[in-house]
């Protein structure tokens, strides 16, 4: 455990100076721009639920899946340069701990993105003059659910990023699976089983939209998310433990 924490703090140090915080800011910033011009379907000022769904469209549909790929690619970048894997794994550390520390960092970065996104939604709502009370339960619940739905994607991307030395190649995979989201989110048949669209499905307040795959029970979501998470993390971990550096 102590080793894990020390690797984790080393990972944090390696990220300093990588301008990764700009990426953390990007999606909430874009969401604020969208939120400032949002209106309710009837016209006029949106309420909190509508504001959340409007602002989360770009954020959860495209940014979250892509960011899970970008973060993991950045976490592996240092090691791919100049024989960093050799230098790191020659130290008395277990490979499992290294891998899990990298994954934890990715999860923390995604959580930070989500926290900033909640702040962005609330800030936008206050600027637009949407009255209190702020529905904290709704915000925290949806953001936590979509964060959970991002974990399988981060696990897959970490597996790919540690295997491929190029920065762009894992992202090519990531984005080519993310773009079909635009279509798949509207499909009630395929939406529930496509891991990349789950952050979006988890983010939309339940019972709000009556089309597409947006009205899923939380249980079926969890089965897809947890199943793909276990699969991707185990596959990545196994391949990392056996990887020749």
């Amino acid at each position: 455990m102590k080793m894990f924490l020390r690797i984790l703090s080393a990972e944090r140090l390696k990220l300093s100076g990588s301008y990764i915080w700009l990426l953390v800011l990007a999606s909430p910033a874009a969401a604020v721009l969208i939120g400032l011009y949002a209106s309710s379907p009837a016209g006029g000022k949106p309420d909190w639920t509508i504001l959340l769904s409007v602002m989360s469209t770009l954020h959860a549909l495209l940014f979250l899946p892509v960011l899970s790929g970008l973060y993991t690619a950045m976490l592996c970048r240092h090691e791919h340069l100049d024989g960093g894997w050799k230098a790191l794994l020659a130290l008395p550390v277990s490979r499992t701990a290294v891998y899990l520390a990298k994954f934890t960092m990715a999860a923390v970065l995604l959580a930070a993105t989500q926290a900033l996104f909640i702040a962005a939604v609330i800030g936008t709502g206050l600027i637009r003059g949407i009255g209190t009370p702020v529905p904290w339960g709704l915000f925290l619940g949806t953001c936590a659910a979509s964060w959970t739905a991002c974990l399988p994607l981060a696990a897959l991307q970490l597996a790919v990023s540690q295997a491929w030395s190029s920065f762009a190649a894992p992202l090519a995979l990531n984005v080519s699976f993310t773009l079909p989201n635009v279509l798949i989110a509207n499909s009630a048949t395929y939406g529930p089983y496509y891991p990349w669209v789950q952050p979006m499905l988890a983010m939309i307040p339940h019972g709000q939209a009556d089309y597409g795959a947006f009205n899923l029970p939380l249980e079926s979501l969890l089965i897809v998310v947890l199943g793909s998470f276990a699969l991707f993390l185990a596959a990545g971990l196994l391949s990392f433990r056996r990887k020749a550096v």
């Binding site: 990588s18 301008y19 990426l23 990007a26 874009a30 969208i34 770009l58 495209l62 940014f63 892509v66 970008l70 690619a73 950045m74 970048r77 030395s165 190029s166 920065f167 762009a168 190649a169 992202l171 090519a172 984005v175 080519s176 993310t178 773009l179 079909p180 635009v182 279509l183 499909s187 048949t189």
Partner: protein, 237 residues
């Protein structure tokens, strides 16, 4: 120049670039195959007057995104060949002019994109024929336009990405910028048409599409000049 291009041609083998060039148009076509295939009767009724036009319009929605993304990845993967192995020093120590090196990377990038656009036209035609839209009604100009005009309008972005990818050893920055541009691009369509990020889509739709394609090419030249100048003068380490 020809020999540098030939060398670059050899260097991109086995780097996944050709795969990317194939997968991009294939993926776009597969998305439309699903889009139409899953609700064929509805789509056929909706576009009853112009089946080919409906297919092309639906495809064109995703072409700008794919071009932004593909351009970013092609530039980055190509620049990464030298970055990864620190081969810039060796390459530029040879008796070749730096402008020629830059130009050959640019030519290769354009060539790959052109192949990709051509493949897209081919795949979309095949899909339309498969759906039985009729060979006599094929809108040849529209099918060629779908990739190539948007590609012309995306050139400023490609020039910028090539510059950034060649300038920074850390590919995280150019790739992040490219990917973010790609996923934001569908959401900026309502903003001003002066924004270059909207040009690839405007080069498909609207009355002034040739203007946007032309403006793209002109702006690309403007971006290329500082890019090439920077590459010609930059320190190599």
């Amino acid at each position: 120049m020809g020999r540098i291009l030939a060398a670059d041609w050899l260097k991109i083998r086995g780097k996944g670039l050709w795969l990317l060039i194939l997968v991009g148009p294939l993926g776009l076509t597969a998305m439309q195959a699903l889009n139409f295939g899953l609700r064929f009767d509805y789509m056929k009724r909706r576009y009853a007057g112009d089946l080919w036009g409906g297919l092309l319009d639906n495809t064109a929605l995703f072409v700008p995104m794919a071009l932004f993304l593909g351009g970013t990845l092609v530039c980055s993967l190509m620049a990464n060949i030298e970055h990864q192995t620190s081969a810039w020093k060796q390459l530029l120590a040879l008796p070749v002019s730096r402008i020629a090196v830059f130009a050959s990377k640019l030519m290769l990038c354009l060539l790959l994109l052109a192949v990709s656009c051509l493949l897209l036209s081919g795949f979309v035609t095949a899909l339309g024929l498969l759906f039985g839209f009729g060979a006599s009604a094929i809108p040849v100009y529209g099918i060629l336009r779908i990739g190539f005009l948007s590609c012309a309008a995306v050139m400023p972005f490609i020039a910028l990405q090539l510059w950034l990818s060649l300038a920074f050893r850390n590919q995280a920055m150019p790739v992040s910028i490219g990917v973010i541009c790609a996923i934001v691009s569908p959401f900026t369509a309502t903003l001003s048409e002066w924004l270059p990020i909207n040009w690839p889509y405007l080069a498909w739709t609207g009355p002034h599409r040739l203007y946007f394609a032309g403006a793209g090419l002109a702006l690309a030249l403007l971006v290329l000049l500082p890019g090439a100048a920077h590459f010609a003068r930059k320190d190599v380490n």
